[in-house]
Amino acid sequence: MTKTRKSSESQALSDAKDQLHKWIINEKKCVTVPYLSRNTQIKSSEAVKLMQEFYKENDDKGLSASYAILAQTDSKDPSKKGFLCKKVVLVQEHELDLVRSTFDHVHSTNIYSIQSNPIDDLKLLTNIDWDDVPHEEKQLARLKERSMSRETSMEPSSSTPAQKSVIQVDKNRKIDAMFSAGRAKKASPKKTSPKKTPKKSPFKKETEKAATSPKKRTPKIIIDGEDDIDDDVKPAPISPVPLKKTPVKDGKNFSEFINQSNDLFCTEESPEKVPIDFMDTSEPAEHKKGKNQNKKASTRKLKSGEKDNEVMEVDKAPPKSSRIPVDVDDDDVIEPRRVIRHAKVPETFVDEDGFLVTSQVNKAIETDEIVVPTKRPVLQPKPANITNEKKKTAK
C-alpha cells in the first residue's frame, strides 16, 4: 500500500510538472499555487516546491514570479508589548528584497505565481482561480445565467430598475415566447383580429403605434381620440417591447393605455385584460371610422351647456359602457369624459442589461366615473365627490 501510495504521489508530481510546463511555456498562462494544486492532485506545499524548482530550471526563459511573504511586525506602542502581528503580502519578484527589509521578522517567503509576462497589478492574482474562470468571465457567465433563468422563470430581476430600452426584435424572441405562453393561459372571451374587425379593436392600433414608435413611451393626452373608441373592446395592455408592426395610419396620438403592460400576473378578472389576438404580429387593419361607431358616439353626448370646472386628464379610450364622445376642438360642445386616476400598476420591460424587469409604475387608469370637463382639459386628478355629482348629472 505504501509503495502504491508513493508511486501515485510521484506520478501526480510528475504529471503536475508536465502540466506546469504546458501552461506556462506553451500556453503562456499565469499559474498560481492554488491553480496548480486544484488542477493537479497535489497539496499546496508540494505545489510550492514544484513551482520553485520549475522557476529555477527555467530561469533563462524570461519568466517572472510573484511571492507570498508571511512576516511579523512588532508594535511600537508600549502598551501593546508582546502583541503578535503577522502580515501576509503578495509581492513581485523585483520588490521582494525591499519589502522583506520593512519587516522585523520574516517567517517565510514562498513563490505564489509564475507567468511569462510580468503582472502589473497583483490584486488580480487573488481575485481569480476560484473556479478556474477569470473574474470578468465569471461575471459575464453569471449575468448570462441570470438572464436565462429570468426568461424561463419570469421572476422579477434583483437588479435595480434601469431605464427602459428598446430591444431589437431578434433579441425578443424568447420574450415573445414567454408572452405567448402567458397568452395561452389566458381565457379570451372575445377574440377579434384586427383584420376582421378593425372598428372593434382600436387598442391594438394604439399598441402598434407604440411599438413602432418606441420613443413615445410616456403617456399622451388624447385630445380627440374617442372616435377610435369601440365600446365593445376593453382597453388592451401594451407590450413594452416594440414588435414589428406596420405604423398606424391615422396618425393620432394614443392614450395612456400604452402603459398597461401585458402583465402575466394580471388575473383573468382584470378589466385591462386584452384579447390574445392583440399581440398578433400580422399586419394590422387600417383604422376607419364606422357608422356604428359614430352612432355610439352620438348616444354618449350629453346636453350642451353643462360645464364642469374640474379638469380631467384625457388619455385612455373608455370601455364599452361609456358612450361619451368628446370633441375638444369644438368650443361650443363640451362633452363629459371619464375620470382618470393615477395608480401603481405592474409594468414589465426589458432593462439595459437585458433583464426582464417587472416594477410598479405610476400610471393613469381610466375609471367608470364620468365628469364633464372644461374646454381645455388639463392633467389633474379629480376628487371623488365632484365626479359623483357629475355622474348623477350626466345620468
Binding site: V33, P34, S37, R38, T40, Q41, I42, K43, S44, S45, A47, V48, A68, L70, T73, K80, F83, L84, C85, K86, K87, V88, V89, L90, H107, S108, N110, Y112, K123, T126, N127, W130, S158, S159, T160
Partner: protein, 449 residues
Amino acid sequence: MNEEENLKRNLVPFADESEADFVLRESDMSEENFKRQFYYVYRVRIDTIQPRVEAKARLQLGKDKKLTELQNMKKGEEVFVAGTILKKMKYRPSVLYEFADEDQELPETLEGGVSLSAEDDILELEDDRQIVKLRGNVNAGKFTTGFVLGFYGHQVQDNYFEVKEVILPEVVPQLEWPLVKQDSYVLFVSGLSLTTDSRKNALVITGLNLLCRWISGELYFSDEEEDIIQNMSRVIFAGESMSLFKGEEFSKATTLTLDTEDLAPELITELDDIFSRFSSILPVDLMPGKGDPTNDLWPQQPIPRVIFQKSIKNEKSFRTVTNPYKFKLADIQFVGTSGENVSNMVNLTRDMSSLDVMQESLECGLIAPTAPDSVDAFPFRNKDPFIINELPHVFFGGNQKQLDHRMAHIGNDGAKVLLLALPQFSESYSVALLNIRTMEVTEYNFSPS
C-alpha cells in the same frame, strides 16, 4: 486537489445560546410595541441589578447600611442610595436642535469622532421617586446613562448628593474555565463596510480573497501555519458587512435617513460570493451591525439568509446570527457585539479606551448600558436582554479602530474575562485569531497594498 483533501480540520463542539436572550418572539411583537415607553426596560433593569448593588453594599459598607430612598434623605446624614444614572452632557447632540428657531441659542457641538464628554458634565441619580445630582468622589467622565449604581454619601442641598464611595453591582458568577487540550482557533473579522465606492470595495475584497486563500491552505507558508489553519474552528463576521447608511459621526445627531442611491444589490452579490467561499471552508457566523440589511433596533435579528443565495447552499456551515451574539465553543462562553455599544460608550466617556468601557460594562452587569438611551433598542415589555446573568469567558466588540485585547479581572472573586476589541477590516485589513486553549490573540494583516 480540493480543499477537503488538502486540509483536514479539527472542529470543536459548538452551541448557539443567543435564542433565549436576543431573538425576538411573538410575545415581544405585540401591536403596542412602538407606542410603548422605555420605562419598562429600565424597570426590569433596576429590579434585576439593584439587588446586586445592595448585596455589594453590605459587603463594602457593612450589613447595617440599608438602602435609603432619595426622598427620605436627611441633610448631613450618611446614607446609601441606589438607582439609575442619567448623564447630562454639554456636547451631546439632539435632533431637536435641527428644529430650533434661528433666535434660539444652541449648545456647542463638537465635530469629528472625539469624545463628547466634558469636565462639567453632570451625573444624576434617579430612583423611583426622585432625582438628585451627584458630585464629589465620582468621575462623571467614567459613567454613562443607563448604569444602575449605588452611592454612599450625604445630601448637601435639596438636589445635590455628595458622594463618598461608588458601589458597583456584585459581579455575576462565571462558569469555570474549561480545560481545552488541543489548540483550536476562532477567526474574528469585523467591519467589511462594503459601500457603493467600488474602488474601496475592490481593496477590501482583495484583502478578503487573500484571507480566504490563507484559511483554505492555498497560501502555504510553513507547517506551523498549516497546523494553525487545520485547527481553525470557526469564522465570526462581527457586524457591519455593509455600510448602506451614510451616517455621520456621533458628534452630530444621527437621524435614520437612508440614501436610496446607495442601495446596491451588487453589494449583496459581492458579499454572497465572499461568504460562500468562506462557508465552503469553515463554519461562518454572520452577525449584523449598523448598516446591514436587518432591523436597526438592538438586539438586531439575523440577516435573512435568503438574500445570500449562494451561501445558503452551505446550509450547515453558513449561519446568520443575532447582535449581540452568545455562543459556546468547546465549553468556552463567548459574548460579543458588532461594537456599536462600545463605540457609543467611548464617545460618551472621557479618557476611556474600548477595553476600559467593555470591562466597565461587565463589572456593572450590562452588555450595552447606553441602550436604549443612545443605542437604539427594542422597547421590551418585561425583559432587558442586555443584562448579564452569567459572566462570559470572552467578551468581544467589533468595528473598533484597532485590535486590542487583555485578560481582565472582574470583581474580587478571581473571575477573568478576555476582552477583545476587533479592528475594522475596511480600514486596517486586519483580523484577529484567537487560540482558545492559550487565549492568545494574533493579529493577521491582509493589506492589498
